[in-house]
């Protein structure tokens, strides 16, 4: 780790609400996408002369298409309840990182061009013309929001700043200011099939290597099949699971669970990515195109069930949006949806999270564990924002919190939760979600992780916790980078199925 060019916050017992420091993060500008990246997505790559009209046009368009945006622009009363809820504000003290202030960057323009008082008396209601300065603020501060939705939990009207950030990024793209990191990924997944840009043959090599590793370690021939037609289950998982540490440990865990269950399963080279960065840039068409790879792969392989690996935003898109976008789910009566829905096995939820899958097997007594193999670990659970506040598992509201914890408790002896206001629906984002997982945003990533690091530090000090489990590829990558800034070991973070992998008995 190179010496940081910024001050790393110090850990404290409670995360204090800072006094505001105007402009403290104004310098933080993520790299802008170039012509090649933008043109592939059909966006311009520099501001044209008419950028202002284009921006306002696009805003009007989105206001007509998204009720969330329409209502949220009007409903805020500036009560301030959300002002201390964003991890980026808590970590940076920049007032424009307060959710309501982030919304206000767009709302002041909305008022000016779309409301009567804003047209008549802009000074009175805080309405402002759209200027280059405001556009730059949009760019900087809409890329200091991980779209984690923590603010929406605490707003009396449920105003979700993520919806506004997404709209802001869409407008920015539309006028030629795309973010390099996210847009490159959205391009790669469409061109190659996954976010890391791994071609099919590389993937096959990796999987063959994993089979050898697991055979060496356990003496059991656990398979990692790919593109198997007629398999019962298709696993769709973030591509980081194939190559990154600690992600790959969870992939091994899923494979062991499938092996122990004796089920036929397959990965897909076409759908070798569960992640969908279309969510982060908020273009419905893009998100739909990316989601349709999964539909196509499922139809081609003729699978009966679709299971999703450990990835936060991917699970939100899969659970909440797939049925809408690509028809993976039930209840569709149109030909498009029926084509796939009739193929899927209606005894199971579609899509299903790998944790739901494993927990079902555990409850049926189909899996056996030697919990003592995890005894060197004292475990806590970091709830990932998109899973916590944008999805569910199981049949009960809140299953997304209980099911992963139940699995951990079934495979390990030592578990301690972090403080209740920092987990569950109030969980703090890792600091790297929503398209921020890029080195050019390292300062905001490190500072945004502060509330989570404080909560973790408390259980490290108090309960000797040495392992933080999570079910998100972005969380894993972010913590691996950020933990060392706060003096923790990067290998403290890992997946829930990494723990499953350690304890599961195979034969």
């Amino acid at each position: 780790m190179a010496a940081p060019k910024f001050e790393v916050p110090t850990l404290t017992e409670f995360t204090a609400v800072p006094k505001i420091q105007e402009g403290s993060m104004a310098h933080m500008k993520s790299f802008v996408a170039n012509e090649k990246v933008q043109s592939f997505l059909g966006y311009p790559w520099e501001l044209g002369e008419d950028w202002k009209e284009r921006a306002i046009d696009r805003m009007g368009d989105l206001l007509g298409k998204y009720r969330s945006l329409r209502v949220f622009m009007d409903a805020c009363v500036h009560c301030g309840a959300c002002t201390d809820k964003c991890h980026y504000f808590l970590g940076t003290a920049d007032p424009k990182n307060m959710p309501v202030a982030r919304q206000e960057l767009m709302r002041k323009v909305y008022r000016r061009y779309f409301t009567l008082p804003g047209k008549m008396a802009p000074w009175l209601v805080g309405a402002e013309d759209l200027t280059q300065e405001t556009l730059d603020d949009w760019y900087n501060y809409y890329h200091q929001c991980s779209e984690c939705r923590r603010c929406s939990v605490y707003c009396p009207y449920g105003i979700d700043t993520a919806e506004i950030t997404m709209a802001g990024r869409e407008i920015l793209n539309y006028v030629g200011m795309g973010q390099k990191y996210s847009n490159e990924i959205v391009g790669k997944v469409q061109k190659i099939g996954n976010n890391l840009g791994l071609p099919g043959p590389a993937l096959e090599d990796t999987l063959a290597g994993l089979e050898e590793d697991v055979l060496d370690a356990t003496g059991v021939a656990v398979k990692f099949p790919i593109d198997v037609e007629g398999a019962e289950i298709m696993l769709v998982t973030p591509s980081a699971d194939f190559f990154s540490e600690p992600h790959v440990e969870s992939l091994i865990g899923y494979a062991k669970v499938f092996h122990a269950a004796g089920v036929s399963w397959t990965l897909s080279s076409k759908a070798s990515e569960a992640g969908n960065f279309g969510l982060f840039v908020a273009n419905y068409d893009t998100m739909r195109t990316v989601a349709n790879r999964i539909r196509d792969a499922a139809l081609e392989l003729g699978v009966k069930r679709i299971v999703v690996g450990e990835c936060g935003h991917a699970w939100r898109v899969a659970y909440s949006f797939w049925n809408t976008l690509n028809g993976v789910g039930y209840g569709g009566d149109d030909p498009y949806a029926k084509q796939l829905q009739q193929q899927l096995d209606s005894r199971y939820p579609q899509p299903q999270h790998i944790c739901e899958y494993t927990w079902d097997l555990i409850q049926q007594g189909a899996l056996e564990f030697d919990k003592s193999l995890n005894d060197d670990r004292v475990i806590t659970m970091h709830d990932s924002c998109n899973v916590a506040r944008g999805s569910r598992m199981g049949n009960e509201a809140g299953g997304q919190f209980t099911i992963p914890r139940n699995i951990i408790k079934a495979v390990a002896n030592n578990f301690h939760d972090m403080a209740s206001e920092t987990i569950g629906e109030g969980t703090f984002c890792c600091g790297g979600g929503g398209g921020l997982l890029t080195d050019d945003l390292m300062e905001v990533r490190v500072k945004g992780a502060l509330p989570r690091m404080n909560a973790l530090n408390n259980v490290v000090q108090g309960e000797q916790v040495n392992f933080m489990a999570t079910i998100c590829a972005i969380c894993k990558a972010q913590f691996t980078k950020v933990l060392p800034y706060y003096g923790f070991d990067m290998s403290m973070v890992g997946g829930v199925h990494q723990l499953v992998s350690t304890a599961i008995k195979l034969d």
Binding site: Y66, V71, F72, G126, R392
Partner: protein
């Protein structure tokens, strides 16, 4: 009819029209705008009746605000409950005979005005004392609070300090309802009170007071968490499935 009575009569018809038509138009706009994706803030109810309960808890108890910030909750809830009781108390000016429950509310309504004004004062104080809230406050936020407090105080003046001619006022108000107009007492406090109320009604549909209808249309609060069981597709998005 005096010029004064004529002015206030027309003012109230105008204000009522703006309020009703304006809010109706907003509701039409909100309901017509599709919500293309399922975005309830989870954990969320998995049934429609669950959503009704969630919404009721939000509207009656301000549940999310309670989780969020106890000061804002205390002041905000005092103000809104106070306002509700005060409004219910005012129903008696518009009917004869008066419904029995309005009479029951009457004494509570009188004292609720204190809760209302104290709540407003607390909310206003936060706009000065808390640096984060000061940062986000616009002139209209301050003016809105000033307006509501002025309405509250002028009303309380007439209730507790200098009574106005309540019989004549009631004749005026009832007259508005049945289109049989009566003179309005020329009491300055009353004129101020009524003028400000009319102003509030007029700005309602173009101001942040739209949070009142808005909350019912907030997709993060009013959607059922059942995306795997029901296919949810907005009309503009359904067109995409066809090609």
């Amino acid at each position: 009819m005096s010029a004064l009575t004529g002015f206030y009569t027309i003012l109230f018809y105008f204000a009522t029209f703006i309020l009703v038509a304006g809010v109706a138009y907003r509701i039409y706009e909100y309901s017509r705008t599709p919500a293309p994706l399922k975005i309830p803030t989870t954990p969320a109810p998995t049934t429609q009746s669950g959503v009704v309960v969630r919404m009721a808890r939000e509207v009656v108890l301000f549940e999310s605000l309670f989780k969020s910030n106890k000061w804002i909750w205390v002041f905000g809830w005092m103000f809104h409950v106070g306002l509700l009781l005060v409004l219910l108390r005012h129903v008696r000016y518009f009917q004869e005979p008066v419904w029995f429950w309005v009479n029951i509310v009457q004494p509570f309504g009188m004292y609720a005005s204190f809760a209302m004004v104290i709540g407003l004062a607390g909310l206003w104080a936060r706009r000065f004392l808390v640096d984060r809230v000061r940062y986000i406050s616009t002139p209209s936020d301050h003016l809105m609070l000033a307006l509501l407090i002025a309405i509250g105080l002028s009303g309380m003046m007439m209730t507790f300090v200098a009574h106005t001619d309540i019989i004549a006022l009631k004749a005026f108000a009832l007259g508005l309802v049945v289109f049989d107009w009566h003179p309005l007492p020329a009491d300055p406090v009353l004129l101020v009170h009524l003028g400000l109320v009319a102003l509030l009604m007029i700005i309602f549909p173009v101001s942040k007071l739209l949070h009142a209808p808005g909350i019912f249309f907030s997709p993060t609060r009013n959607q059922v968490d059942n995306p795997r069981e029901r296919r949810h597709v907005a009309p503009w998005a359904a067109a995409l499935d066809k090609d």
